[in-house]
């Protein structure tokens, strides 16, 4: 296993607030890496820095060995580094199949490809993935008419449609009915094992992250507090203190 994302010495502040200071971490290719930390610890800021949502103040971010910290969001996405949002985002006025079809991998799409229709193979793939997340029955409904949990599944399916190398998931189980969480964990794991997608997951639900991740990083107050396997993190006193507010 080798590192597919290498973050070294990244700092980002908003005005006087240091959201991330001197963060270094790695995401191993083919694995599931977790990112935890109390609210406001800088997890989403780190995600946003990686996907190019805002410029970083200091440090370097490498994806597959090349520097990406100066690239714009769509360019990074086309490299195969994709993110989902904490506040689910789908295209509300388009139906599920349309949502899926426009999520095709744009790195493979030339300018002239835009002026053709989707072929049967892509429609089949879109419907297959909708079936994979359990939305096949609702495929012709508008994205905006789905429930929050269903939108979250749709967003996940759209991400898979894009054939990413690495998928950054910002709280995939937040707001999802607890009975559906197991199904979602199972699908995330299958995306990792069957489709070979490296996952990097922010998660508040400890049961979920301990169950999924093979390596976990813990942030607190914008600094890297601890890292290690799920067992190590669970038994790390500084992590427990951070969550209980004794930092």
């Amino acid at each position: 296993m080798n590192a597919i994302i290498e973050v070294s010495g990244v700092s980002k502040s908003y005005g006087g607030v240091k959201a991330n200071s001197d963060i270094s971490m790695q995401v191993q290719k083919g694995g599931i890496t977790g990112l935890i930390g109390p609210n406001g610890s800088g997890k989403t800021t780190l995600f946003n820095s990686i996907v190019g949502y805002h410029p970083i103040d200091k440090g370097s971010i490498k994806f597959e060995g090349s520097e990406i910290s100066k690239l714009q969001v769509p360019a990074i996405a086309r490299l195969g580094l994709l993110r989902t949002f904490q506040q689910t985002r789908i295209y509300g006025a388009m139906n599920c199949v349309e949502n899926m079809l426009i999520s095709m991998p744009h790195r493979k799409m030339t300018f002239w490809d835009a002026f053709s229709r989707n072929d049967a193979e892509q429609i089949e793939r879109a419907e297959g993935l909708l079936d994979f997340v359990g939305l096949y029955e609702k495929r012709y409904l508008r994205g905006g008419s789905l429930s929050f949990g269903q939108q979250k599944l749709l967003e996940f399916a759209m991400a898979l449609m894009n054939e990413p190398t690495v998928l950054l998931l910002d709280e995939p189980t937040a707001g999802i009915n607890p009975t559906l969480i197991n199904g979602l964990i199972d699908r995330l794991k299958r995306a990792n094992s069957e489709f070979g997608i490296t996952l990097f997951v922010i998660e508040h639900n400890m049961r979920v992250i301990m169950n999924m991740a093979d390596h976990i990083y813990c942030l607190a107050h914008g600094e890297m507090l601890a890292s290690g396997g799920p067992e190590d993190i669970q038994n790390d006193q500084t992590v427990i203190d951070a969550y209980l507010g004794a930092h």
């Binding site: 769509p74 949002f85 985002r89 426009i102 744009h106 835009a114 002026f115 905006g144 008419s145």
Partner: protein, 346 residues
């Protein structure tokens, strides 16, 4: 519905071709209607399909007029000399010069406006929502002021075009507009089935998501606006020939007239649909003709009231209202068990 589409289209095309003979007294009015239909359809390309409400599309109309004038006059004479003599010297154009000017003028206007859209768009498309609207409006107003101080093209006095070398000028104008309109309709009907349209809709629904998914957002925005600019430029060019004489602020870069009318047409008919802008343009044109003919003196008040009522109570327009009442007509499926929430979400 789709079964009858070929029949409906043949009937519509027959109507388009025969209209100036069925209503011979209304030929100029029908030409004016075509202008509204074309500018409304192209406005909806960015406004309705892509969520970028431009108030500056009139820039392409005015620029198209001037480009056509410069090309037509330039073929036969020196443009500066021609405008200097405004009214004084008579400059004759042969039919060949006229039609060459017309052909090259239209194509030149379309291409020049498309190029302008790409250049201006690469700046204005960094603006979102109302800022984009105001930014583009600023471009149109500034262009009008600049041209009115540019003596080479006649400055504030405007510029005169050659007379049509023949008898049937109104028919010629009507069919010129109608051809552009029909071509635009066929083009958009095709375009709205492609991935390009899906990308535009994605930008409209959530541009940040579209970026995060790797869609070439800026590229699609520029191309969409360039397509709109191409057709609006051509319409402006035809109007330049019809108007015979035009000046920059009231006729060419008429931000408060046609610049606003095109938006009202789309709002009346329904944003983001192919037929909404067309129906809206017809509704608006009828309203405008009636108020201008029978309520003269109050026509602007009536128009203002129409805009207020549309914006406040009727934002989705006729097609939007139909879509929420009869979604199945438009191929939109809603959950049968739980229709109320599906509709509320729209």
């Amino acid at each position: 519905m789709t079964r009858f589409m070929p029949v409906i289209h043949v009937l519509l095309l027959t109507l388009v071709i025969t209209a100036p003979f069925l209503l011979p007294d209304y030929r100029s009015s029908l030409s004016a209607l075509w202008i509204l239909i074309i500018v409304a359809l192209t406005w909806d390309l960015t406004g309705g399909q892509m969520g970028y409400n431009s108030l500056g599309n009139i820039f392409f109309y005015g620029t198209g007029m001037y480009v056509a004038a410069i090309i037509t006059i330039g073929i036969a004479y020196d443009v500066g000399e021609y405008t200097d003599a405004a009214g004084g010297g008579i400059f004759a154009f042969t039919p060949t010069q006229y039609f060459m000017g017309f052909g090259f003028g239209l194509i030149g206007a379309g291409l020049f406006c498309a190029a302008c859209a790409i250049i201006i768009g690469s700046v204005t498309f960094s603006l979102r929502g109302p800022y984009f609207a105001i930014g583009t409006l600023g471009v149109a107003i500034a262009a009008g002021e600049l041209v009115s101080n540019w003596e080479w093209v006649g400055g504030g006095q405007g510029i005169s075009m050659p007379n049509y070398p023949g008898e049937q000028e109104r028919l010629f104008t009507y069919y010129s507009f109608a051809t552009v309109g029909v071509v635009l309709y066929i083009f958009l009907r095709w375009l709205y089935t492609t991935r390009f349209a899906a990308a535009m809709n994605a930008i409209r629904d959530d541009e940040e998501k579209a970026e995060a998914m790797g869609i070439h957002t800026l590229r699609y925005k520029l191309v969409a606006w360039a397509i709109a600019a191409f057709f609006v430029g051509i319409v402006g060019a035809i109007e330049a020939f019809q108007a015979l004489h035009f000046e920059p602020l009231e006729t060419a870069y008429q931000t408060i007239n046609l610049g606003i009318f095109m938006v009202v047409c789309v709002l009346l008919g329904g944003k983001g649909t192919l037929w909404g802008p067309i129906i809206g343009a017809i509704m608006f044109h009828v309203f405008k003709e009636i108020t201008w003919n029978y309520f003269l003196g109050w026509q602007w008040v009536a128009l203002g009231a129409l805009i207020v009522v549309t914006v406040v109570y009727f934002q989705d327009g006729l097609m939007g209202w139909l879509m929420s009442k009869k979604p199945e007509w438009f191929g939109i499926r809603v959950e049968t068990r739980d229709t109320s929430t599906a509709e509320a979400a729209e």
